[in-house]
Subunit: 628 residues, 2 copies
């Protein structure tokens, strides 16, 4: 969290103490293994957060997977080394770390730099704006510097370890948890740092299942693990987390999206690369415009950004605290075309919660190469197009002598390259010039193969699909939603409320008897059973606490509605229905409760309409019903 | 899988080849990281199994968690060593392993014994029954023998390694995956072998959230990991798996269950301890009788067994292939009171899929002791009961001198013990006799504390709750359901069908146009959108394949219903609705499809009723509609 962010977040007057108290007391989120001293970066979800997460995931599945016929998979967390070596994670999934040489304590180098800049600005309130902006620009690039650059900056900003000594030079620390698979102890495995690789390695089967057609998307919801160097910021930087990832496979020459028109008018808050290094200000732009102007690279990337925004609004995130930040060129992987993070503002500042990356063909190509498995799609072209290729012929006898059981691999490799003259040309040149060349480790001589450059008309083309990847940090989204949902009643700091909308609310309705009268209790049970029978999670509170106290308990859990069974109910079968945020109540027949809530929970009716249909009841929650 | 089991399973004429082909081709379950050579014991779920699992879990949550107000949590997989040391897993979560000394290859000793007995019986078809029964009795106890016993039996049954050499002596191999948490590399962690520990360590917060009341249950659905020595049997023995666990906390002196009457008449197939060692035959008994006769230890354990049976029936498991097998005394943990495994029969034999264990107070007691955290519940007693306790008094000065900052811990420990004279008596005796004693590592002398044995009436009692634990292997259940659902059409081995019931079916309905006519397509889209809007997962197939071919495709995925839009639809807005297993079709207005399927999927209507309400249509699926 940068100072600037903290100030911005401060405007919302977030009451951390009372928020934290509620979160722990009602077991939304608690430190894991607390009685054993806990482990940094590990948190448990208690009953209300568990239900909230289930609702968020259910909505995610409907909004993304079902709505677009994505192919959902569930792959394993345990991953053998070869897969993550291939993907580049074994070599490059690192953060820069420094040690305090006196104590051996480890720190993330970029975070130290960020904190040092915060400190510097805080201690110099009279610093000229231009100078401040220079520092903030460096801060915004903190995780994109090279080790040498970072080392120099840590010296420049006078960063010292807790012991007072200068830090060690920064060095890369791999964030994957390592283990060993099988009883022999020789097979290295890791816990996956992302779910994506499981989908990439299954690309061929997925394409078959999709009857060979592109574009299509695969999706996965599951755990990821990162051995963070110094976890902090509560649920926002943890070592085990739930992700939702989509891999959309598309022809690299045509990244249009068939449904783009449906979102083109949607306005997003964009924080482009140039603005980050320049003005420091965001722009609000319709995604259609942003794609047209080239700010966002292509329709499919833009489509998913808009769909993510819509999802966030659907689950009840505050739209004013959402923005899309483009990756700086130095931040992006070398193969990536364009990346935009959805950042959500909370008391910890602006935090990346959903990545949207155009990863080009990188992932499929590396797995294809490592496994010698073709990972290509085909597309019909009409009219047919002319292509240049190499018509080749092998001397099978020579091949057999040279490569024995590998001869089919070698001929397969050359056949593959020969399909496109562009790929075969360097080999042809080398064979012509040197009489031999090496293909994937095999030494080929001129005598083994002859060729002629030819051309033909083809009705379909092969291509390695590009991957456009929206990647959701579900835990971060959940935490942000908790903050965005939290408020205290006007004039009463003690009464805390979670404003979960009826779609995501962990429990949809509470049912109370006004007294412990047996007849009232029977009606309460009947109403609750009817609600539960329609899968509306219901909370029954028959305690002797005052009604107002019982309402307050439901407010803390974000239960949007409460039904109270009173003595009138026993006469005319009507009950009161209270809405959480307005605290207004209406009176209606008990038999109408379940169908009414079903429609509200499925977004087909809102509270305003309810207050127009049924008579309002005047209520003072401190003392119970006072007047009608 | 024992030979006996194989024979029994054989009766069902399971066609493995065509089952395996379907499972792979439609991506129900596929080996993980296949293109990289795969890893034994790791499997991915593809789209249809993913949806099936989501439905199974949704029903589990409703059947167990929501229906009984259980407190659901989601704890982390990464677990620090201290927690699993406390639970006993670091020391005792092992299988006995042997090595082939020539090759270093590792094997599970009990499985070798089981296989050897299978072989022996198979090779001696004329073996007298009594002798055969002796061997089978040994086989049934295979995983309960000590290392020495197993070593002797491996010699007796002449088990040799693949190299021909005798195996190494058997030794325990810990099945937990180990890793290290944090950048320093010094903190040992494991992947949890079960989800239960996360619930135990949170007991105090859960009890608070439940307003201090027992009995109550906590539940968790999540991943478990076991580094199986030699995984085999497909999805039935894997290294990463989804579990659903319930920990029901109950007063050890009263294990009755308030809802037991609702299940008492439910008949279960029970394979008690005595029958396993004796007759080898199961008994069908109402659970009420089984608890009354003492065969099943208590109501709560019996209640969950019956609820598990009901869940299995609800998701569509074949009731004839379910049985509850009691653990042998040698199989049970020393602290356990009674354990019954729900076993499901598949082509691999009878396999444990749900454990039901009365674990007594073991789990809470070990964590309480290790963390010095009281983990007790209280219960009101009326009328009050008399208890004997020690009224004690400390010499605070002496305590302070002896224990400095620890003096509060020491006095707290003694206060705790003094509450019950039974606990304090040994200390009193030791102090009287030796003048000193040791409590939790602290040396106490006679001078530090004085006491009198007293008695008083109390209105509430404290107790460490017993834990009754139903533990579901969701992956094993999923795989068993796939086998139980699979069949081939009478007279056509090629036409394979999955008979998923509408509740669990991954997709609820398919919608086809009879031709590629644009008007037909528009109606198809309209019907599909309407179904999806009610959250009914729908498959659209506009391909040019013959209708019969398209029906067959839905059969393979277990889609229970298919709607066909034909030329009549364009005239009168009616469509045909086909049911998968009967292949019967009715004709009805298109607007009635969604409400009808909603009622069927929610179990409020069945196909029989549908065929009575709407006219049947005569259809030959080979050639399309032939007559009406």
């Amino acid at each position: 969290a940068t100072l600037q962010d903290k100030l911005q977040a401060g405007e919302t007057q977030f009451n951390r103490k009372s928020f934290d108290d509620l979160i722990l007391r009602k077991m939304f989120v608690i430190p894991s293994f607390e009685i054993h001293g806990g482990v940094k970066g590990l948190f448990d979800l208690g009953p209300p957060a568990c239900a909230l997460k289930a609702a968020m995931i259910d909505m995610w599945r409907k909004h993304f997977v079902l709505a677009e016929n994505m192919l959902e998979m569930e792959c394993t967390c345990l991953t053998p080394q070869v897969v993550l070596k291939t993907s580049g994670h074994v070599d490059r999934f690192t953060d820069l770390m420094v040690k305090d040489p006196a104590t051996g304590e480890c720190f993330r180098a970029d975070k130290l730099l960020e904190d040092a800049i915060d400190d510097l600005i805080e201690k110099n309130p009279t610093m000229p704006n231009a100078e401040k902006e220079e520092h903030l620009k460096i801060q915004r690039q903190a995780d994109a510097f090279s080790p040498t650059e970072l080392d120099e900056l840590l010296v420049k900003y006078n960063c010292k370890g807790p012991s007072g000594e200068a830090y060690s030079p920064s060095f890369p620390f791999n964030l994957m948890f390592q283990t060993s698979i099988g009883p022999e102890g020789t097979a290295v495995g890791y816990l996956r740092p992302e779910t994506a690789q499981g989908l990439f390695v299954n690309f061929r089967r997925l394409l078959d299942l999709n009857a060979g057609k592109t574009p299509f998307a695969a999706a996965q919801i599951g755990l990821g693990f990162r051995n963070e160097i110094a976890p902090r910021s509560g649920l926002l930087r943890v070592r085990e987390f739930c992700m939702g990832e989509i891999e959309h496979f598309v022809n690299p020459n045509d990244k249009s999206h068939p449904n783009f028109a449906s979102v083109a008018g949607k306005e997003l808050v964009l924080f482009g690369r140039d603005d980050q290094l320049g003005s420091g200000k965001t722009k609000t732009v319709a995604i259609g415009e942003a794609v047209k102007s080239g700010l966002v690279n292509n329709e499919t990337l833009g489509y998913f950004m808009a769909r993510t925004q819509l999802y966030m609004e659907k689950i009840g995130m505050d739209p004013k605290r959402l923005r899309f930040r483009q990756h700086l060129t130095t931040e992006m992987a070398h193969y990536a075309t364009d990346c935009w993070d959805l950042e959500i503002q909370s008391s910890y500042g602006w935090v990346e919660c959903v990545g949207h990356a155009d990863r080009a063909c990188y992932d499929l190509e590396v797995h294809s190469k490592a496994t010698k498995t073709p990972m290509v799609a085909t597309e019909k072209v009409d009219p047919p197009v002319g292509i240049e290729y190499a018509k080749i012929k092998f001397d099978r006898k020579l091949l057999g002598q040279a490569f024995k059981q590998d001869q089919r691999i070698v001929s397969g490799l050359l056949d593959g390259l020969a399909e496109d003259w562009k790929n075969f040309e360097p080999i042809a040149t080398a064979l012509d010039t040197d009489g031999k060349t090496t293909v994937d480790g095999f030494e080929i001589t001129k005598e083994m193969v002859s060729w002629t450059k030819s051309s033909k008309k083809v009705h379909e083309v092969k291509f390695t699909p590009s991957v456009i990847e929206p990647s959701f940090g579900m835990g971060r989204i959940l935490y942000s939603l908790l903050e965005h949902s939290f408020y205290t009643r006007e004039g009463d700091e003690q009464r805390t409320v979670m404003r979960f909308n009826p779609q995501v609310a962990p429990q949809k309705c509470a049912v109370f008897p006004i007294s412990s009268n047996a007849e009232c209790n029977a009606v309460v049970d009947e109403i609750a059973a009817d609600l539960m029978d329609s899968d509306l999670a219901t909370r029954v509170d028959k305690s002797s606490a005052a009604l107002g106290r019982r309402y307050a308990r439901t407010d803390e859990l974000g239960v949007p509605f409460a039904v109270t069974v009173d003595f009138e109910t026993l006469k005319d079968n009507t009950v009161t229905l209270r809405e959480r945020d307005s605290m207004k109540q209406v009176r209606l027949p008990k038999s109408e409760i379940t169908p009414l809530l079903m429609r509200i929970v499925h977004g087909k009716l809102n509270w305003d309409a309810v207050t127009k249909k049924y008579p309002l009841v005047q209520v003072d929650e401190g003392d119970g019903v006072v007047a009608e």
